[in-house]
Assembly symmetry: C2
Homo-oligomer: 337 residues x 2
């Protein structure tokens, strides 16, 4: 593991992206979002995911030149075609637009179809909350989770993100509907550890804490069993319905070909309702910290500040092999500069 | 247990409510919402909850004459004061208004502070979805669930409701953030059964399926452990922020004095985005039903149709003692007719 200064990471990623055909400004933003994700400690979706992103560009599933296009406008609601562009750039643009709509109408909504994996969903919650707005967004995914009652992965883990502005720093929830991601299962297995709690079923249909057994059965548990399963279904339905895009059951169940996702971005302006100080969330955070034993309960996003500061100061941590791969990934460009 | 025709239930409840001071139309609607809740099989929040509702009217926590009042209007976003009126009437009016806003602006939002328990939350999801709109609403509650990491009930179980229109009948999610409600724990204990899954911690901090141990410790589990706990926190923050009402930590932790709740109602018009047939959700439901073993996975709200039809046909089931109490509860009216 080495540590690389934030700016060097961003510059290197942007250089690779430009060689892959990104326009300079888009390369900078895309690189910044990847660097910020690692900086905030969401290592699975930052630099560690960059090579998969590059692979999907090379395979043609992500079109680096495609910018999202508005299909319908109706007051505070818009439907966009993501045109299979880079998922994080589409997501950033969609939340930005929802934020503009919320300043005009109090609340705004942009539904995006035909887009790609948004990488770290929390990014777009921070984006809204840092600007003093509530941001709510969700995405569907390929089928990767069995609905409650079934043994077959028929629903997505459909992450839901909610960012809430707060005077002392945003509260940001970023949760997928599976209790443990496949990435988390792999980490536990490699460390030879059991999960702290039941994380899925084994091939015999018994609940288990054995990560390898769940990887084999492909039956991770939804958050709250039947409840998270149901939430995943309605998130998928709303995203596909409002974007006129694909529902989970129509998405190719292959992480390297998972494209054509459907997403919804909602922004709400608390100032339009009269909440101007953003101190409501402060009171809630303080009440959480008082819960016995005091200091034991944290608010969503609480650890991010500390990790962010540490990684900004010491450099972003990255495996040497991952970094070498990133540096090499621009060697065979799709387009010459 | 006896069965009473739907119309007789509604008429009886409405009669009691009129004696308690409800205006005739409000008595009819309030009675209908209670009857529909029992009819749909949500027995805990229908007739079985009526006596508690009457007790809160008699104690002055619910003001039967109070109608909600608009405090601020900004485009598609409104903030209302619920004025401690009947929770289900306030909720119905708020969703109705969010629906009107969504027809004007594509999306609409009404935040309501200073209101009361909305009884069955699903009601307002059905209300929107039956009209061809997406309805999303949530409420905070008194503190009744420990945040993850803490042993003290510092957060609410803050139910979240999402109704999605569907050509063949709505998909409606109605989930509280606790894995099992106190009502469910009590039912299991009285039947002498263990919970099917861990439902909380015992007084020693161990996960347990023993319902009585959880009732004693007051430590039920949130849906998905840390995830549902985090979702409850952001739902509370958004509701208190947009309504300028109370957050969970400011609400009296006593079921008979739980008043001044904060709620948010969002409606989205899929037709404004171009989805006119409402057949997207049909495709998702069909894909769920195909999941192996076929027919084992259900969609949210699936059983409601069957229960509703059965109870409409046979009469609404009610314990004889509960029915006797309802009939008697108008005997000492607050106001003469």
């Amino acid at each position: 593991m080495k540590r690389i200064p934030f700016d060097d990471v961003q510059r290197t990623l942007a250089g690779v992206l430009r060689k892959l055909g990104f326009a300079p400004e888009r390369a900078e933003l895309c690189a910044r979002l990847f660097a910020e994700t690692t900086c905030d400690g969401v290592y699975t979706h930052g630099m560690n995911r960059f090579s998969r992103f590059v692979a999907m560009i090379r395979s043609g599933h992500v079109d680096v030149t495609a910018e999202p296009r508005v299909e319908t406008r109706f007051g505070a609601l818009e439907r966009w075609d993501g045109r299979c562009g880079p998922g994080n750039l589409n997501a950033y643009a969609a939340m930005e637009r929802a934020m503009v709509l919320s300043r005009e109408h109090g609340i705004g909504c942009v539904a995006v179809g035909n887009t790609n994996h948004w990488m770290r969903g929390g990014t777009y919650g921070w984006q809204a909350a840092d600007a003093g707005l509530i941001g709510i967004c969700w995405t569907n995914t390929m089928p990767n989770l069995p609905p409650w009652g079934s043994a077959e992965p028929g629903i997505g883990n459909n992450p839901l993100v909610i960012g809430v502005p707060r005077a002392k720093g945003p509260v940001v929830l970023d949760m997928a509907m599976s209790q443990f991601s496949y990435g988390a299962l792999e980490s536990y297995r490699k460390r030879g550890e059991l999960l702290p709690l039941d994380g899925g079923f084994d091939t015999e249909g018994k609940l288990t804490r054995d990560p390898g057994a769940i990887e084999t059965s492909q039956r991770p548990l939804a958050v709250g069993y039947w409840k998270g399963s149901a939430l995943a279904v309605v998130l998928d339905a709303m995203a596909a319905m409002l974007s006129l895009g694909k529902a989970t059951h129509q998405i190719v169940p292959d992480a390297l070909r998972e494209t054509g996702l459907s997403q919804v971005y909602v922004a709400i302006n608390p100032e339009a309702a009269g909440e101007t100080e953003h101190d409501v969330a402060d009171g809630i955070v303080e009440s959480l910290h008082r819960c016995a034993p005091a200091g034991s309960a944290r608010y969503p996003g609480e650890r991010t500040f500390q990790i962010r500061e540490e990684n900004r100061r010491l450099g972003l941590p990255v495996d040497e092999s991952v970094w070498a791969e990133i540096e090499a990934s621009g060697i065979f460009p799709l387009k010459s500069e």
